[in-house]
Symmetry: C2
Subunit: 318 residues, 2 copies
Amino acid sequence: MTLKPKIVALCGGVGGAKLALGLSRILPPEHLTIIVNTGDDFTHLGLHVSPDIDTVVYTLAGLSNQEQGWGLEGETWHFMQSLERIGGETWFRLGDADLAMHVERTRRLAAGETLTAITQDLAARLGIGPVILPMSDASVRTILHTDEGILPFQDYFVRRRTEPSVERIEIAGAAEAAPAPAVQAALDDPALGLVIICPSNPWLSVLPILETGDMRARLAALRCPVVAVTPVIAGAAVKGPTARLMAQLGLEVSAVSVARFYAGLADGFLLDEQDRDLAREIVALGMAVATAPTLMTDLESRVALARAALEFAWGLDS
Amino acid sequence: MTLKPKIVALCGGVGGAKLALGLSRILPPEHLTIIVNTGDDFTHLGLHVSPDIDTVVYTLAGLSNQEQGWGLEGETWHFMQSLERIGGETWFRLGDADLAMHVERTRRLAAGETLTAITQDLAARLGIGPVILPMSDASVRTILHTDEGILPFQDYFVRRRTEPSVERIEIAGAAEAAPAPAVQAALDDPALGLVIICPSNPWLSVLPILETGDMRARLAALRCPVVAVTPVIAGAAVKGPTARLMAQLGLEVSAVSVARFYAGLADGFLLDEQDRDLAREIVALGMAVATAPTLMTDLESRVALARAALEFAWGLDS
């Protein structure tokens, strides 16, 4: 068992948030830092929307809608109905309660606070123990080059429902952006014992984190293990768009493709138990492999996967 | 009966909106232009809020909450509850459906549209026939000098519930602001036959309109009658704060004080029938006087007062 107790999780939206929740249930809050993708952030209706941060925040606050996987439980839509009546844009749906987050975040950003400071404060007000950090305080934006032209992330993902075929993914602004100071501090912390890459979409959710400033070099230079958890199970992505995107990018829809994406970065790869016959191929990429049930259907399975990831990492470290 | 069919109404919030509604029910829509006070406008939570415009718009669209006198019928408050949970400012309550108006207006202002263009478009989308105009596209702000210091209008009116004693009213930016071009055009229209000053608070709702640029001179130069409708009945204001404010300003709470405020500007003063013994005193101020039931408790009384105001004005003009 590692003597270095601190754990950093790299996380996108829904899938990543599930594992982050599992981790939050078994780790002391001061030991867990969750670094969240902000490549999906965008300005909508004049409001700064940070979809992945909100998904993680709502999930850890116990406020998220379990069924639809995003947004708030018991959400209402009177704002959207009213907006539609006066001719506003309605393709990206903002719920009445959810809206408070965007309005308050936008107001505080305009007042000069950093996204980091705002995120930490809002999370604390919602009673969340672990630290949740945006990957950067600078603007980094995921842009899809598709057969319908260049689309900002939400235009591709929500407005066009991932239908355009993706030819190339661009993380605009990433090279010039620095990881948020608190992100740098978490990775520099001598007590850091493990980095877990949550089962988020590698290309859409994790890539923006890796591309931000010197993040990839920082992760590569770590002396603690980096473990990635697969978002692909038995040749299918847990969420639809990932599989379609992989096919468009010319990748086999297989955990091996994910492992290849993380090769050179991750020391360990946590594979679904259904995919154990792929282990040899992944080991050949230079990673240790363990298997576990990785489908997280309820809190119990989230906690179990978090535990499996930690046990796997402890083994790597010893 | 006048041969010049067009009518301009000067209007603040609730009381004025009631008469504007009455007028809208008996005039062809293309004959009625409602010029609305924007001295109460403010930026709240980063959003541009125009309380009087919204009151008029909601009232004429048939969407207003009849009971409370402001806001939307059937409004819900999930945004505010959520905002409170994350530590946002909650002293000014924005309903879920109402919020769409502020978000969309703010977005369109930021995109460079004028408040006039936005207001006309939103009103049209809500099916409103008459033209509703902000008094100015420039920033004019009502500021109260009180025993608690200088307070922006909403701080005085909503946050401090009109409790501070008002020593002086300042209409900041009014001298430098031009009336909106459409306001100027409405007053310059050769078909203009009557200006009605609605029974809004003269000092808080009408004064900002009068002080905006050369509005007072424009109104004084009109060749058609100007008729003011009293907001004070039998020594009491229809809405509480007006009476308190009048007392603080050292004014008798009487329709005569209102008439004195409009002396030199209005040609006619429509007094409540309960106050007919004040008529002689008001006539002495240089105004024609008529009496009518001026308390508007339902649509019927709104239409009746609108009709009384028109009949009074027609008499003045003939």
